[in-house]
C-alpha cells in the first residue's frame, strides 16, 4: 500500500525505509521524522522516554500537530494489528501472496518467523507477481498523471 499510494501521489517511496535502511531518503514527505518517531515510539517503555520526546518534537516541528496525532494513532493501530496477525497465525491473503512475494524477498521480510504461516510461492508465481507489480505501478503512475 505504501508503493501504491506513493505512485498515486506521483512520488516514489523507497520501500527499504520500512526495514530501517535509507530512512534519510524515504521518498515520502517528512519521511525521516515519521520513521524516527515510529522507531522511538515502538522502543519506548514509558511516556517520558527522552528519545521519543525528541522524535515527537522533531515531527511536530516538521509536519504540525494534526500529523503528530495521526502518527501516534497509526503507531497504536499497527502495534495492535501485528498482534492480531501473529497471534492468530493468519497467512497473507491468497491474492496478495504471489503479487508481493518478490518484494518480500527483496526487502528480507521472508526471514521473519511468522512467514511460516504463509505458503511459499513458486518461482514462476513469483515472477508473475513481479510482472503484476510492475503493471500495477504503471497503472498508478498513469492514474496520477491523469489526476493532474
Amino acid at each position: 500500500m505504501l508503493r501504491a499510494s506513493s505512485k498515486l501521489t506521483g512520488s516514489e517511496a523507497d520501500l527499504h525505509a520500512v526495514m530501517g535502511a535509507g530512512a534519510t531518503h524515504t521518498g515520502v514527505a517528512h519521511g525521516q521524522q515519521l520513521v524516527a518517531f515510529a522507531e522511538a515510539a515502538v522502543a519506548a517503555t514509558h511516556e517520558g522516554d527522552p528519545a521519543l520526546a525528541t522524535a515527537r518534537d522533531e515531527l511536530l516541528a516538521a509536519a504540525g500537530p494534526a500529523a503528530l496525532v495521526d502518527a501516534a494513532a497509526v503507531v497504536g493501530n499497527f502495534q495492535r494489528m501485528v498482534r492480531i496477525a501473529d497471534g492468530t497465525g493468519i497467512p497473507i491473503d491468497h491474492g496478495m501472496n504471489a503479487l508481493t512475494a518478490g518484494m518480500r524477498e527483496d526487502l528480507g521480510i521472508d526471514r521473519f518467523g511468522s512467514a511460516a504461516n504463509t505458503a511459499e510461492v513458486s518461482g514462476a508465481a513469483k515472477a508473475a507477481g513481479r510482472l503484476g507489480q510492475t503493471a500495477a505501478a504503471a497503472a498508478m503512475k498513469l492514474a496520477s498523471r491523469l489526476r493532474k
Binding site: 515520502v28 515510529a38 522516554d49 503528530l68 496477525a85
Partner: protein, 243 residues
C-alpha cells in the same frame, strides 16, 4: 471524564477519545468468554508483561522456549498469562505449536481470540498515549454479568491457528462484520464477533475505516496516505510481522 486529553501537547480530534471511551466501556463489561473482571485483569496483565523477568529472558534468547514462571497478578490461569505476555512482548515468534500447547492446557480457541482482541486494543490505546507523551488511562472498573458464550456456527478451521468465518460467510448476526471485501486480518478474530466490531471502531480513528483501506487515495486528516503507510510498514517491520 476518561480520555479527556486536556494535557495533550497537541489537540486531539474528537473521534479519538470517543472511540477510546467505547473501547473502555466494552472492556469493563462481560464479553463472549470472559467476565468484566477477567477482561480488565487481562488488560492489566498486558500492561504488566513488559516488567516480567521471564519474558525479558525469553526476548533476549535465540529461542523463546525458555522454561520458567511469569511474574503476574495471580488473577488468571498460567496459560492465559502465557498468552497475554507473549502477545505483548514477543508476538513475532509465536508458532502453531505454541498455540496448540495453550489449547492442550485448557485455554479454548474462542477465549484465546478474545484475549488477543483485548490485548491488542489496550496496546493500541496505550501506544497512542505513550507516543504523545501522555500517562496511560487508568483501567475501568469491571461491570458485573456473565459472558454470552456466543460462538458463530459459521466459523471454520482454515490455515490460521484459530477458526474464522469465511470471507463470504458473514451472514445473519455477523453480516455487519464486513461488507463485500475483507482480508484475513479482519477475519482473524471473527470467532469472537464483538472483537471484530471493536477492531473496526478503533481502526476507523487510529488508521482508516476498514472498508477504505484498499483504496490508496484515502488518507487520514493529518497525514497523506504514503506517510501513513510508511509508519505502518516501519512499525510492522520492527515487530517482525510478516503479514
Amino acid at each position: 471524564m476518561s480520555f479527556s486529553y486536556a494535557h495533550s501537547p497537541v489537540p486531539v480530534r474528537d473521534d479519538i477519545p470517543e472511540a477510546h471511551r467505547k473501547t473502555w466501556q466494552r472492556l469493563a463489561g462481560p464479553g463472549s468468554w470472559w467476565t468484566g473482571a477477567e477482561r480488565v485483569a487481562i488488560a492489566s496483565e498486558a500492561r504488566n508483561a513488559p516488567n516480567c523477568a521471564l519474558c525479558a529472558e525469553r526476548k533476549a534468547a535465540l529461542s523463546p522456549n525458555v522454561a520458567g514462571v511469569h511474574d503476574h497478578e495471580g488473577k488468571l490461569s498460567e496459560a492465559s498469562v502465557e498468552a497475554i505476555h507473549r502477545l505483548v512482548t514477543d508476538a513475532g515468534r509465536l508458532t502453531r505449536s505454541w498455540f496448540e500447547k495453550l489449547m492442550s492446557e485448557g485455554l479454548g480457541d474462542a477465549p484465546y481470540v478474545e484475549i488477543v482482541g483485548i490485548v491488542a486494543g489496550v496496546l493500541s490505546i496505550d501506544n497512542f498515549h505513550r507516543a504523545l507523551g501522555l500517562a496511560l488511562e487508568p483501567l475501568p472498573a469491571p461491570r458485573p454479568g456473565e459472558p454470552s458464550r456466543y460462538r458463530p456456527t459459521s466459523a471454520i478451521r482454515e490455515e490460521a491457528y484459530v477458526p474464522m468465518i469465511p470471507a463470504k460467510g458473514n451472514s445473519g448476526d455477523e453480516a455487519d462484520l464486513w461488507s463485500r471485501m475483507t482480508g484475513n486480518v479482519i477475519r482473524a478474530m471473527s470467532l469472537v464477533p464483538d472483537a471484530v466490531r471493536s477492531l473496526k471502531e478503533l481502526s476507523a480513528v487510529h488508521y482508516l475505516k476498514l472498508e477504505d483501506v484498499p483504496d490508496p487515495r484515502i488518507h487520514m486528516p493529518g497525514l497523506e496516505r504514503p506517510q501513513v503507510e510508511l509508519i505502518a510498514g516501519r512499525v510492522s517491520a520492527l515487530n517482525e510481522c510478516f503479514y
